[in-house]
């Protein structure tokens, strides 16, 4: 069945991008308080942690794996950051140590998956609990808030008079890196092959285990970076920082058209998914939709996003069948 150029252009990731634009236009026009700089900076600032982790998560899901321990890794780095700060260590030493910790967390996940051949879903549900537990042991129920002002200002501040958070620029750089890695390097090309058919990728000389290990480590690193950002952005390092964030990340990535079975999707779609969910929650809050209803809407949207591409495909198949039936007579 030859697709028309138009039909091929209507891919799920462009649909999500279009939905995001429609939502933004609607919100600017009809939702009171949406367009002011303070609200927009809140929206972006609150969405950034999800977006940061979504970058490596997209690559990981494309390669056929998943990491559910990201929020716990983020919480653990925040907790360690707070504990070390209480010990009087300098913040310039603490932050690299926290990032290193994230690398170790990712390495543990990656080694369990690649060396022992365990499914990543099971492994990272385990480490989700384990890392969070360690975070609680490290910091107890304390909240550390007295980080140096210039760091807090950076994480919470805006660029000049604009609505953009200062952290948005580094995010754009990381986004560009991730887009290039996934869509324009041999590494990214291999990730798609591994996700679509691991066996064939191995027979083509792709170092599958190394590839997955690198992706888990990158995910751990980005999760700890997010943990550091979170603690500074909200000026609070607690063991339960970012709890449940992994579900938002996975939801957004799937909404953005990344196939849960691996091998399909674009990073642009994933990031559009992240900001679509973020903007939707923001708008619902402004419209005084209750928190419970927000969760319901998000959940329904997620189911629709998983169903959407499939339904679209079935409609096109049915249409082809009807065409065949009419030419028959």
């Amino acid at each position: 069945m030859a697709d028309s150029p138009l039909a091929r252009a209507v891919r799920w990731d462009t649909v999500v991008g279009a939905l995001l634009i429609v939502l933004l236009l609607f919100s600017f026009g009809f939702v009171d308080g949406f367009g002011n700089a303070l609200n927009l900076s809140f929206l972006i600032g609150n969405t950034l942690p999800i977006a940061l982790i979504a970058l490596p998560m997209t690559l990981l899901v494309v390669a056929g794996e998943i990491d559910l321990s990201v929020a716990s890794t983020a919480g653990l780095s925040g907790a360690v950051m707070g504990a070390l700060w209480n010990q009087g260590m300098s913040i310039e030493t603490i932050i690299p140590l926290c990032l290193l910790l994230g690398v170790v967390c990712g390495l543990v996940n990656g080694l369990l998956v690649t060396r022992l051949g365990l499914p990543s879903l099971a492994v990272t549900i385990g480490t989700l609990a384990a890392y969070r537990g360690v975070a609680q042991i490290v910091l107890g129920s304390d909240a550390v808030t007295d980080f140096p002002t210039q760091y807090l200002d950076f994480a919470a501040g805006r660029i000049g008079d604009t609505f953009l958070p200062q952290a948005f620029l580094p995010f754009l750089v990381l986004l560009a890196v991730a887009v290039v890695v996934l869509h324009a390097t041999p590494f990214g090309r291999s990730a798609f092959a591994v996700g679509a058919n691991e066996e064939a990728a191995r027979f083509a000389g792709v170092r599958v285990k190394r590839q997955k290990l690198i992706l888990f480590v990158a995910t751990g690193f980005m999760a700890s970076l997010t943990g550091v950002f979170w603690a500074l952005h909200y000026a609070s390092a607690r063991y339960d920082n970012a709890t449940g964030l992994e579900l938002s990340v996975v939801a957004a990535v799937l909404l953005g058209g990344i196939d849960f079975d691996g091998g399909k999707g674009t990073l642009g779609g994933a990031i559009a998914g992240v900001f679509l969910l973020g903007a939707l929650q923001n708008v619902m809050s402004l419209l005084n939709v209750s928190a419970q209803s927000q969760i319901v809407v998000t959940g329904v949207l997620l189911v629709v996003s998983v169903l959407g591409p499939r339904v679209a495909r079935q409609i096109s198949v049915a249409r082809a069948g009807r065409r065949a039936a009419t030419t028959q007579t």
């Binding site: 041999p186 291999s190 064939a200 027979f203 083509a204």
Partner: protein
Amino acid sequence: MPNVPATQLKPFTTLWGRPADVVEEPLMTHPSDTGPAPVLALKDISKSFGAVRALRDVSLELFPGEVHALAGENGAGKSTLIKTLAGVHRPDAGQVLLDGESTVFHGPADARDAGIAVIYQEPTLFPDLSIAENIFMGRQPRRALGRIDHKATHAATLALMQRLGVELDPDRPARGLSIADQQIVEIAKALSFDARVLIMDEPTAALTGSEVARLFGVVRTLRDQGSAVLFISHRLEEIFQICERVTTLRDGAWIASEPLDGMTEDDLVRRMVGRDLDELYPKQDVRAGEVALSVRRLTREGVFTDVSFEVRRGEIVGLAGLVGAGRTEVARAVFGVDRWDGGEVEVDGRTLTNGAPSTAMAAGLALVPEDRRAQGLVMDMSIERNIGLTGLRSTVRAGLMDRGAERSRSLDWAVKLQVKYARIADTVSTLSGGNQQKVVLAKWLATGPKVLIVDEPTRGIDVGTKAEVHRLLSELAADGVAVLMISSDLPEILGMADRVLVMHEGRLTAEIPRSEATEETVMAAATGRAA
């Protein structure tokens, strides 16, 4: 014909299905003017997919009690025709006649209810369920309160097995059954649905000689009981062995329906390809050069032991043996997708790292694996990117993919190997089996290998493509590539190899020069009989 109630026999069963009776029919016509009515017929069927006309005015008649061959190259329209019979595709034009009456199948369930069953090359049984449970999955006989009646299930399965003339324990789990026995279970399942027409799509592709004989025994029993069987195989000798009539398709068009009696394999090939076929085994004489692949005392515990051999530049070395003798496993270990426990492999003078395909590739080794769908190709990826997958190190500029270079490399090799495709960006799953195999070959030849290992290079591909692959291998050897060819197709080994290595139960048992290699010497070594 034991265990067959008389009512199941159609009156003309014994008349039809005997070559002697069919001979009197004029060539190239449908033998339907007289005699029994076809149980299933296609009349002037056409089917298009977009711009591709898969079938054009194709007709086919299947009579009770006959085994009918469907012949044609890959892409000739056989699959589309089968899917039309099975209710998967609705024809754009033409009629499907069931017992002489025009019918429309709205889906596979309609075809099944009409008594049509398709047996595929790779059966899909539930490995942990018993044979009986597999056959009656979802419709087991019930006792009170909806409990499954195991006794009745067992008895019904036993009756089916007796009808097929085979002894298989109904309570045995499907896991561990040979592929032939799995197919027999599928056939039994079809019979339990009262199938009158069995369509067998390349059932023998993965079978050994004795398994083929077992399957054919069942097919003959079915025929004698009045079933119509449509049989598809790329092995021409099998068509002549088991079928009475053949319908040939070429490029979607009906070429002929005729009795096989009196035809030769060459006649059939000519109908299929539309011309005289170039030599099937165009082996050139090449003087062997220096050693390119050297395998020394390679061992993988429990799989193969102490395997040593060399392949020289310009040589084609055949690796023969029964399925399970360890040939594929040796190739996998040499290439690095499996680890070895002892021994050494050298390619072009470089010692390979254990378990590292990327270093093997860097040394100039290429492996065209046995299973092209699972190992050779990423089915959902484009032709371009599949070929490109082996070039991720070469089509790179400043660390980024050079898409222009990737495309021209892929196009180059797709054209060189005459892959038939619409767009290079189409997924490989849209190609026919033979063209898929060419993409796998293109993918590996694009690496410019010094040593090429091909594992079952022509399994499941049509005779025209087969000849092309053989010519290609011969040319590669002439260009100085060392070729190791694993094949279960004995004529292919004998026709193409300069030397034949034979494995038996994980050991290399014989090395036979071309001059002494015959079916007898190779089979004697392969079965462990002293040559």
